[in-house]
């Protein structure tokens, strides 16, 4: 993968880190918008590749083009998710949903946890590729959650399901790139480490909602759901890693009904007065005008989406037939003057559109639009002064939201691939490995996974980039492969909480494009804490299971 010619020293390491630092400073400190910061980061990575990593222009072009292709996997969720949002919203669906959810439970915190944590995790179990963020963020906004929190909550709460979610696509990709001696042990230890983001995610959502009083009210609920999510996932890795997220995420969804009947959670206690995540003043029994549609009808898109996704992914023969059709373009071998080589691909990372969540979102949008149109919801929502409703309005709004969201996603992933093809990623990981003693490397291995996820917005891509490298360093330092690959995988899941493409996706669907830096400021502290705890747990793992 990497030729020893590539220098791994402090200067080179600092240069390799520079594009990421530039991106963070532009977005978080200087508050540039995502399209501006992402594009600038892409140029920073390209400039450093040319000047300090001996990268030929052809290799830069190949890396950049692969990044564009990688982005299409995400954009194929972004555009259909925004379409579904507009189709639902312009029929009055979110308003009806908000009212329906309010009736389902009088406990606002229970609903926020149910949607932001349990439902987003369930969606990650089956769909992934950002679907939980794209679907749940507007639901939370409709419920009255402030847009910044409406994005931050599902991002933080669903990352535990990233690695074994989407029917374990991250796990299966890892098996492709690393030759593991004991797969079951790696899967189990990954499941153990992922309990950290489960517990931390649940408590953080509660903290965001109502600080200390909310924690005192909701801790039993969080522990029960965390036991189902985290404990269930760890145990299921021993049975079948492919279903290890899907089954506990579904069980937690089912558990919501008996939990909602628990007297403790019938109402929100009056002790919770500070609700920073919420926009509205709490209404006690306020009477509202009639909803635009029934609650069942407003929930129709999510039932359709779940049914379609489960049907296509879990029914094995159907999945095999649908997965047969795939598209992709070839790329030649790419090299640098330092001997970094990226193999030729024929085709590169082909996409199977019929099993991709984007297709399920499009089908859901079309069926929903037909039903809502037939029932006259768009006509009823048309503005009295002759405003438009229906397909023209939906398409106009879709373009206004989706185009600004698409540019930064492409720029981030092109930047990631340019860094990968120039060897900057290798220098970053090898630099950490070179200076860190064995136990320090064990502590930091999760942060390498998180770095990969930050750059690619995907735990799967993080593992494809770094698993082999982590495995090699673990051997050099006589560390157990299970603990180190588990740390890489858990870190790769956690790093998604600050991944710019995820944040852009959430900001777009919550209607706050341009506020990506504000969202990262909410998720960054959580990510740092989760990575540090994962590092500490990894040290414990490699000490207990040497």
């Amino acid at each position: 993968m990497t030729d020893p010619q590539i220098p791994v020293d402090l200067l080179q390491w600092g240069l390799a880190l520079l594009p990421i630092a530039v991106l963070m400073v532009l977005m978080v400190a200087l508050r540039w918008t995502a399209p501006q910061a992402g594009a600038f980061g892409m140029f920073a990575a390209a400039g450093i590749s040319l000047l300090a990593f001996r990268t030929p222009l052809e290799t830069l072009a190949v890396g950049g083009a692969k990044g564009v292709w990688d982005a299409l996997f995400i954009l194929y969720v972004v555009w259909p998710a925004l379409l579904l949002y507009q189709v639902t919203d312009q029929a009055g669906g979110y308003e009806a949903l908000r009212r329906g959810i309010t009736r389902f439970s009088n406990n606002e915190l229970f609903v926020v946890l149910a949607l932001g944590w349990v439902f987003s995790s369930f969606l990650q179990g089956i769909a992934g590729f950002g679907t939980p963020i794209a679907v749940v963020a507007p639901l939370l906004v409709a419920f009255g959650v402030r847009p910044i929190y409406a994005v931050a909550i599902p991002i933080i709460a669903h990352v535990w399901a990233k690695f074994f979610g989407t029917l374990a696509v991250g796990w299966l990709a890892t098996l492709q790139v690393v030759d593991l001696a004991d797969e079951a042990e790696v899967a189990f230890q990954t499941g153990l480490l992922l309990i950290i983001p489960v517990v931390l995610g649940g408590f953080t959502v509660v903290w965001m909602y109502g600080r200390g009083p909310a924690l005192r009210h909701a801790w039993p609920l969080v522990l029960i759901i965390a036991a189902i999510h985290g404990g269930g996932q760890a145990v299921m890795t021993l049975v079948d890693p492919v279903l290890s997220t899907f089954i506990p995420a579904t069980l937690a969804l089912l558990a919501l009904y008996p939990l909602s009947r628990w007297k403790r959670y019938a109402d929100l206690p009056d002790t919770i007065t500070d609700r920073p995540a919420m926009r509205t003043v709490r209404a006690h029994g306020a009477v509202e005008a009639a909803a635009p549609m029934s609650f069942a009808m407003s929930f129709l898109p999510y039932i359709l989406l779940t049914g379609l996704t489960i049907g296509a992914l879990v029914i094995e023969p159907l999945n095999a037939v649908l997965g047969r059709f795939s598209v992709g373009l070839p790329f030649p071998e790419a090299t640098t003057g330092y001997g970094v080589v990226r193999a030729a691909a024929e085709p590169y990372s082909p996409i199977a559109p019929l099993t991709h969540p984007g297709t399920f979102l499009i089908l859901t949008s079309v069926v929903t639009w037909m039903i809502y149109r037939a029932r006259g919801y768009y006509a009823a929502q048309a503005l009295p002064e002759g405003g438009e409703a229906g397909e023209r309005s939906v398409m106009r709004a879709l373009l206004a939201d989706a185009i600004p969201a698409s540019v930064p996603v492409i720029a981030f992933l092109a930047m990631a691939q340019i860094m990968n093809h120039s060897g900057q990623n290798d220098v970053l990981a090898l630099g950490i490995a070179a200076v860190a003693p064995a136990m320090a490397f064990a502590f930091l291995s999760g942060s390498i996974g998180a770095l990969g996820a930050f750059m690619t917005s995907s735990s799967t891509s993080s593992n494809v980039l770094f698993s082999d490298l982590q495995h090699s360093v673990a051997e050099l330092k006589s560390l157990p492969e299970a603990g180190i690959i588990a740390a890489q995988s858990a870190g790769g899941a956690i790093g998604n909480a600050i991944a710019p493409a995820n944040v852009v996706l959430g900001a777009s669907t919550a209607g706050i494009a341009g506020q990506e830096g504000a969202i990262i400021r909410k998720t960054l502290p959580w990510t740092i804490i989760a990575v540090v705890l994962t590092g500490a747990a990894t040290v414990l793992l490699v000490w207990v299971f040497p």
Binding site: A39, A61, V62, A65, R146, I410
Partner: protein
């Protein structure tokens, strides 16, 4: 130039770069990947350029999800 038009142009340039570079670096004439690299560069430079040449148009209207009423947005 309108913000949405700028970003739409940027998106178009970035997307067209992918097939041009793939074909140009494998079976096609090298000119194609040079064109693809230029498309990537043009698509990438357009969004930051808006900081150098700030638009005269007013900022986009807040969406109905309530950005202006969200005083804790930062």
């Amino acid at each position: 130039m309108n913000r949405l038009v700028t970003l739409a142009l940027s998106l178009a340039f970035l997307l067209i770069a992918f097939p041009l570079i793939s074909i140009g670096t494998t079976n096609g004439p090298p000119l194609l990947w040079w064109l693809g690299l230029m498309a990537l560069a043009i698509g990438g430079i357009l969004p930051p350029l808006r900081r150098v040449f700030p638009p005269k148009e007013p900022l986009p209207k807040p969406t109905k999800v309530g950005l202006p009423e969200d005083e804790r947005v930062s």
